[in-house]
């Protein structure tokens, strides 16, 4: 059964233009380029101002996490997992903990689940604020960048109070979380949320109602409906095409089924719509955080009893857990063999497809001035591509 036929196929890579014809110039966007999110590079072949061919080069941040985690005990992996996606480590912590809990069948107390949701939603909000700044900055609005990054910093202060660390907080551990909420924390969260909502209101006036921003972003990088499944596009990029798919609704984990929110969908699926979907989800996160603070049970234990972590043999098993992070489906595929080390763990980051195959497809034919905008509108984080 020949699996490869000879006629060209839509998934075959496009032919590279020959540079000897003198029509094309090859330009390397990045890794040292302020318009590229994170540390990756695009090998652009441009004809005039138009991109004729694009290759993505990743791996500048490759640390071999999956290898390192195979030679660390389960509890030793916790400082490791949160380093995988730098702007939002909480999802890695939750997924790793969830995978272990599923294999070892650990019951998580309810208070811990609420605290996890609080942590995850704050993380989502912080990550979205960072993205909003980068996205408006890549279109030349440094003012909005300054505002949003500052408000993200206030949320990082909340994290510091809640977990003890700004960026890498090993808060979500297997069986629960590491600490209760400090005294008067809810009031401070609400205060920050007020500031964030005020900021979002201003951002809507400055960015989304801005004629120039519309000129730049509308019709840029349109993702057709067919591409969604063909390229495995997830998250807001997918919801901007009109697909109502959100893991928090479809396969509710933690206590998301007790929260009240609806999936945001749009239809144009260009850069502007993707930004708009994310903007609405930020409002949703704010409301979710408020609901969590209301409905959260007061007392109760926040941590299940674990066996002795020093020689903790997780039983043999195999599972795949996933959560809806800001970019879409973020999954951990874990295989254990009953020893106190992992057999194999695979981290499925949504940027893996967005930044490599989708970017290579969408970048062809756009103006070189829009490459940074398109890159940001796909919302990719290189660290989770190369792990």
């Amino acid at each position: 059964m020949p699996s490869i036929s000879q006629q060209p196929h839509k998934f075959d890579p496009p032919l590279e233009p020959d540079l000897t014809s003198g029509k094309y110039v090859k330009i390397w966007h990045g890794p040292q380029h302020p318009g590229i999110t994170g540390n990756m590079s695009l090998e652009l072949t441009i004809c005039g101002d138009e991109v004729a061919h694009c290759k993505t080069h990743v791996g500048y941040l490759h640390r071999g996490f999956e290898k390192l985690m195979e030679r660390r005990t389960f509890i030793q992996n916790f400082p490791v997992v949160c380093r995988i996606a730098v702007p939002e480590p909480a999802f890695n912590e939750y997924l790793y903990a969830a995978a272990i809990e599923e294999i070892a069948e650990i019951e998580v107390p309810e208070l811990a689940q609420w605290l996890r949701v609080l942590n995850l939603e704050l993380m989502r909000l912080a990550s979205y604020l960072m993205w909003l700044g980068g996205s408006s900055g890549s279109f030349g609005m440094t003012t909005v960048y300054q505002w949003t990054v500052t408000h993200r910093d206030y949320i990082l202060d909340l994290f510091e109070e809640m977990t003890g660390a700004r960026i890498y907080h090993m808060y979500i551990t297997p069986g629960g979380v590491r600490a209760k909420l400090p005294e008067g924390f809810k009031g401070r969260v609400l205060k920050v949320m007020q500031g964030v909502e005020k900021l979002l209101y201003e951002v809507e006036k400055v960015v989304f109602n801005n004629h120039v921003f519309k000129l730049r972003s509308q019709g840029l990088g349109i993702i057709s409906k067919d591409m969604i499944d063909e390229y495995g596009i997830v998250g807001p990029n997918q919801r901007a095409c009109g697909f109502e798919r959100d893991l928090r609704k479809d396969q509710p984990y933690l206590v998301y089924d007790q929260l009240d929110f609806e999936v945001v969908t749009e239809t144009e699926s260009d850069a502007y719509t993707r930004a708009w979907v994310r903007y609405q989800e930020m409002h949703q996160s704010v409301s979710m955080i408020r609901q969590v603070l209301d409905k959260m049970p007061e007392g109760g234990s926040f941590h299940a009893d674990l066996p002795n972590v020093l020689h903790w043999n997780v039983p043999a098993g195999e599972t795949y857990v996933k959560a809806e992070c800001t970019r879409g489906e973020y999954g951990y595929y874990m295989v254990t063999d009953g020893s106190e080390y992992l057999q194999r763990i695979h981290i499925r980051g949504p940027s893996y497809t967005h930044a490599v195959s989708v970017m290579e497809k969408l970048a062809v034919g756009i103006n070189i001035a829009d490459v940074a905008g398109l890159m940001v509108s796909l919302h990719t984080y290189p660290p989770e591509i190369e792990r």
Binding site: S3, I4, G64, R72, V234, D250, E318
Partner: protein, 177 residues
Amino acid sequence: MKSLINRLTEQFKVSLEKQTKSDLCFIRVNKDDAEQLIRHCRDHESYTHLSFLTAIDRIEDNKFTLTYLLHNYQSHQSLGVHVELDRENPVMHSLHRLWGQMATYQRELKEIYGIEFPGSPRLNDEFFLEGWDQIPPMRKEFSTVEFCEERFPIREGRQSTDAKQTMKVEIYPGRGE
């Protein structure tokens, strides 16, 4: 899930490995039927979303296990397809015509496991590593510690103890046993 497995077992030589939860189960198929099975699942069972493709290095029984994880957006169920490869010369049919991102996964596996996917586009381009001159790093027999010791100089004065012993002796004294 059960009905799906039954439907599949009628047409293909598949064996249910394990169903870990209600919406996730893993089946095993031999490598020549894999493409037909996956294509069938994508086209007729509406498992249209490829979550990931990865490999597991089972050095004890000298095999690589490829895992294709497909997802069904209608029933919200996931199906993991296991394909076992011989560890000596691991070769798998290239499925890059099925999904657009498949070629990228195959590139990665070629680099970090040395699994061959003949016909996959840009298969031999460097993906993560640059100028890698050892055996593929994710294989079990590749010891990253020894490699680091002979490749990268460590600043003197750093002592790295066995974390397990440290936890036993210093952090949780007495809880070790």
